[in-house]
């Protein structure tokens, strides 16, 4: 019994140890955001924070970080998002633009006021502001 308890504790510890951490990051000129606003920007329910335009950036559609972001932050699967964006086309809204690499997302956010994206936590440096964190 002791062995089993020890094994479970060890499993829990190692799964936490090796869980990849991610962050939603923004240009330093933006004030803090809460989760409801992050979802609203990536689903294009709004494109403004106060009077400032916000530019959400996705990674490409099969990217594992994007899949994790959609599941853990937006709480939507790939299929459900496909249907969501088809409906948005009828309503006159476009999905966020996509970039192929975290490096491109980082460079874009650093240089464009109002840009918001996500990446692995270890890739974030002092040029970006973290507004939300999650892990797999």
């Amino acid at each position: 019994m002791k062995r089993l308890a020890l094994y479970i504790l060890l499993e829990l510890f190692t799964s936490q140890l090796y869980a990849t951490e991610y962050a939603v990051v923004i240009n330093k000129n933006i004030e803090s955001l809460h989760l409801g606003q992050i979802k609203a920007f990536f689903l294009k329910k709004t494109s403004y924070l106060g009077n400032e335009p916000i530019v959400p950036i996705n990674l490409s559609s099969r990217n594992l970080i994007r899949i994790s972001f959609e599941k853990k932050v937006l709480h939507m699967s790939f299929t459900r998002l496909k249907s969501y964006w088809t409906k948005q086309h009828y309503l006159g809204h476009r999905p966020p633009i996509s970039m192929k690499s975290q490096a491109s997302v980082k460079a874009f956010i650093e240089n464009v006021d109002g840009a918001i994206g996500y990446m692995e936590l270890k890739k974030v440096d002092g040029d970006l502001k973290i507004v939300y964190k999650w892990s797999d």
């Binding site: 409801g36 329910k45 403004y48 699967s77 086309h89 006159g92």
Partner: protein, 335 residues
């Protein structure tokens, strides 16, 4: 006629297959941009078949074109549609055909987004009432038919102003105000002929739940050239998770001298058997005093979407007025 419809169906399915999408980089159902201009174009069409009381009807129902875009805080939407472009009806005594080549203005509006909370719209738009009326086209709805309550209680379209306030927090709160004090841009394309319409809506959504309440008043032009003030209230709810969506709308409409529709509503469940297949059950009931009709309806539907913007739908409706029992099938595409 059926053969022609099948040929169209096969050709369009082949054209818009997944290989085509991946090779061309075009995503079906998301439109296309004109160069680098802020103009996106797209459209949709649907064909349907109905069998009721030993009569068959084949129809090219919708063929519509969209253009939209945005520039800074301004955005626009234009939608033009051929409605019931071609109808072929067949019964034991013979057949009849009908063509309507008039192009209708379905939506034509401009939006101005003041900030993340406030938006103002001017033009003709889908009345922001309930959930069904926001996405009313065949390919985006779950069944070929529309619930009765979505076209007898309130005007489907408004030509005038629309203002909204939205607060994004742990739950989203939205307040809608609609005002019309002029003629419809295209009065032949609305379920009521109106020149005055005032309405209010409040929506609250949190996680998988969304609830909404709409109140409104409008002038209805009658056939004898008189007008009638009509008042309505509609309550709606939606619950949506990965596999299941449950949606309901219940409303009532009255004139100054009493109910015109005592009640009308539906409860619909959509269960996604897989990514491409869905089973639908809808229960409807209404009591329309104006037309002196009361009916209870159970609808069993099945939808196959080879790709999300392509829908093949079949449904059977059981009515308490048994002559109204019917089978419907449709094929629709958003492009």
């Amino acid at each position: 006629m059926l053969k022609k419809m099948l040929i169209v169906l096969v050709l369009v399915s082949a054209l818009f297959g997944e290989e085509y999408q991946e090779d061309s980089g075009y995503n079906l159902g998301e439109g296309a941009q004109i160069g680098t201009l802020p103009i996106y174009i797209g459209g949709y069409f649907s064909v349907d078949y109905k069998y009721k009381d030993s009569k068959s009807r084949y129809r090219i129902d919708d063929l519509a074109f969209l253009a939209y875009g945005n520039y800074n805080k301004l955005s626009y939407m234009a939608e033009f549609e051929f409605k019931e472009l071609y109808t072929f009806s067949e019964e034991t005594s013979g057949f009849a055909t009908k063509q309507d080549t008039s192009l209708h203005v379905e939506r034509l509006y401009a939006d101005y987004n003041f900030n993340e909370n406030y938006m103002l719209r001017g033009g003709k738009y889908n009345s922001q009432v309930g959930f069904w009326n926001l996405l009313p086209i065949n390919v985006l709805r779950d069944t070929t038919s529309n619930p009765i309550s979505t076209y007898i209680i309130f005007p489907k379209f408004t030509t005038g102003l629309y203002a909204s306030y939205t607060s994004y927090s742990e739950g989203d709160l939205k307040i809608d105000i609609m005002l019309q004090h002029n003629n419809d841009i295209d009065p032949s394309y609305n379920n009521y002929i109106i020149d005055e319409y005032y309405a209010l809506g409040i929506t609250y959504s949190k996680d998988a739940f969304e609830v909404k309440l709409n109140l409104g008043m409008f002038d209805n032009y009658m056939q004898n050239n008189t007008t009638q003030n009509l008042y309505y209230i509609l309550a709606s709810m939606k619950y949506e998770i990965e596999k299941l969506q449950v949606m309901s709308e219940v409303g009532t409409q009255s004139a100054t001298d009493g109910f015109t529709t005592e009640y009308a509503g539906y409860l619909q469940a959509v269960y996604h058997l897989s990514e491409k297949h869905a089973a639908i059950l809808r229960l409807e009931s209404y009591d329309d005093k104006f037309n002196d009709t009361q009916d209870d309806i159970a609808i069993f539907g099945y939808t196959y979407r080879p790709l999300y913007p392509v829908a093949l739908k079949a449904e059977y409706q059981f009515h308490s007025i048994s002559l109204q029992n019917q089978f419907l099938f449709s094929f629709s595409v958003l492009f």
